[in-house]
Symmetry: C2
Subunit: 343 residues, 2 copies
Amino acid sequence: MKAKSVTSHDVAKLAGVSRSTVSLVLNGSDAVSLSEETKERVREAARVLGYRPNSAALMLRKGRTDTVGLVITETRSIRVDAYIPMLHYAIADVLKEAGYSLLLETFERKKGVNPYTDLVVSHRIDGLMVLSPHVEDKDLHALLDSGFPVVQIGSIGHPDELSVTTCTRDSTMEAVRHILQLGHRAIGSVPFSPAGFSATDSRLEELRQELSKNGITLDDDCIEFGDFSAESGYNATLHLMRRQPQLTAIFAGNDTVALGVIGALNSLGLSVPGDVSVVGYDDLPFSGFISPPLTTVKMNADQQGRLAADLMVKRLKGQSIPEKRLVLPSEVVLRASTGRVRN
Amino acid sequence: MKAKSVTSHDVAKLAGVSRSTVSLVLNGSDAVSLSEETKERVREAARVLGYRPNSAALMLRKGRTDTVGLVITETRSIRVDAYIPMLHYAIADVLKEAGYSLLLETFERKKGVNPYTDLVVSHRIDGLMVLSPHVEDKDLHALLDSGFPVVQIGSIGHPDELSVTTCTRDSTMEAVRHILQLGHRAIGSVPFSPAGFSATDSRLEELRQELSKNGITLDDDCIEFGDFSAESGYNATLHLMRRQPQLTAIFAGNDTVALGVIGALNSLGLSVPGDVSVVGYDDLPFSGFISPPLTTVKMNADQQGRLAADLMVKRLKGQSIPEKRLVLPSEVVLRASTGRVRN
DNA sequence: AAACTACACTAACACGTGTTAGTAAGGCTT
DNA sequence: AAGCCTTACTAACACGTGTTAGTGTAGTTT
């Protein structure tokens, strides 16, 4: 019933040589000389039998798995936001190209349990990629201390970390200037998550500072936190506009939330950008094609993922890494969701 | 530098017993009797050293990897549509709960290359999940013939297949009736992909049949194919409405495409649903919170993924599987993107 | 007293691979 | 003819684990 698997022993038997010879031929080793005729006979036998080395045996022998783990910490966001999957698949692409497999690890943090231990200590993976790591993640810091290959998307400030981040400061400044030039003065914000997440905190802080430079204070009453989903953006906006109906511009924490922000504004009878302008972050694939097309701060998830995966490949292959912390620029994409303030 | 890994040998030495004893204790085997005192000493030693069995050795010894592969065939769709990731993460959740890891495999089909061979023949995985399989996929049929554990999301009609599909026929009927009751007669469609993909073909065929039952023919001129993204929906709609400006209702192939459809209609100065009604498929998390909230055929990706993963777990654990082909019902969700036809 | 049982543990094998040290034979040099 | 190099190959080990058959001892039965 179960097709017995083909081992190098079978190949050896068919080719009339020893198992060692099979291994040497198939791995192209030139440490020992073999006649061309024998080599060909072995290759042919392997082909006929459809031989593939058993990967577990390979891992055991070589002491590596050619597998990289991917940890996604923000489990709440996975199902409702498109950004993580974009990173994920970009990473998968690059790693596959370099000969590595990608093992997905979604974990919930439990008290007293180090979520990295299982994968790492059991030698299940050669390296770990962490998306949106928490700055105060004790276990992650410990893992970095141990020297295990880790690449993060997002920094936790560890001296040895390899990370890729996107700096939104300049773009936020540019977006704020854009909004101010359109005449807006009553400005609110709907971050994409509760406070405490690094991207949320930094975007909010940058926004606050830029507005402040221009003499506008971003009052706490003008902020209503979302929770990753468009739904949360929708509900937050309803609350926000009930409390602060004078607002004419809203900075959404990301494009998914912005979708809900626009939906809520419209449901309140407000037009975008006629009555209220909306700015997002990320520039998801759909952002240019919704109604109205969204003005947003482009993050380039694809490039971010690819560079992170490149870092991992370099690290695993022992290649030199000139820059351990890559910082990508963002870019403001002006579209139709922002407009001149109503009279 | 490199922290040498802890093996059962180390544990044995510390506990003052043989390696066999360590293995027996830690696996809770009662095939041989051991004193409680020794057991405790071994457990303590293992705890102190932080011992975890080497997974490669385990795989080799046990002949299984406790790993499931996930093949995503529609690489074009991955980055631009939210449906696949939802399936993906639901599957990952269930498998993890059952003690399996998930290995991601995104592959491009190349001539003469069997994309399943590597993972399967090298014993890298115990089972394979295939998302949106092609009906005529020769290699997949061969894999099923071989008896290797495969679960598909989407059917290819193989006699032994394990699959989960969602039947949209009833919902399409219901949605069509809904649209007709609103007075619409000039109806178009923007499928989410080119023809040839099973979901696209079946949805289109169901739509055609239902309309036909009501005396309306869905002309080819009233169909403009999308290509997975919101952008493709946007562009297709521009073409479609230029060609058929009389249309008052559009069935989008999925919600992502519907996003672009609505965007395009608005950019043409048409309101939704004032001038044109739009129906989507999937009910993505954002669909209820965009503007206008989208009327759609709900697919329940999460449940689909969970059931598929359950099938896989049952299959791998040798449990009985009463129904090899699960067919889930869909459900029409009426929202504000559909309305009475304009006068 | 011999034989058996129960207990506590270990030696040895097998999983499938890559690699190093070693063997055998033939041709060449001295 | 003895020694040496080259060519062609293989035996044997190691990776770390789970398990089966087996060993020895103490206690109990016949």
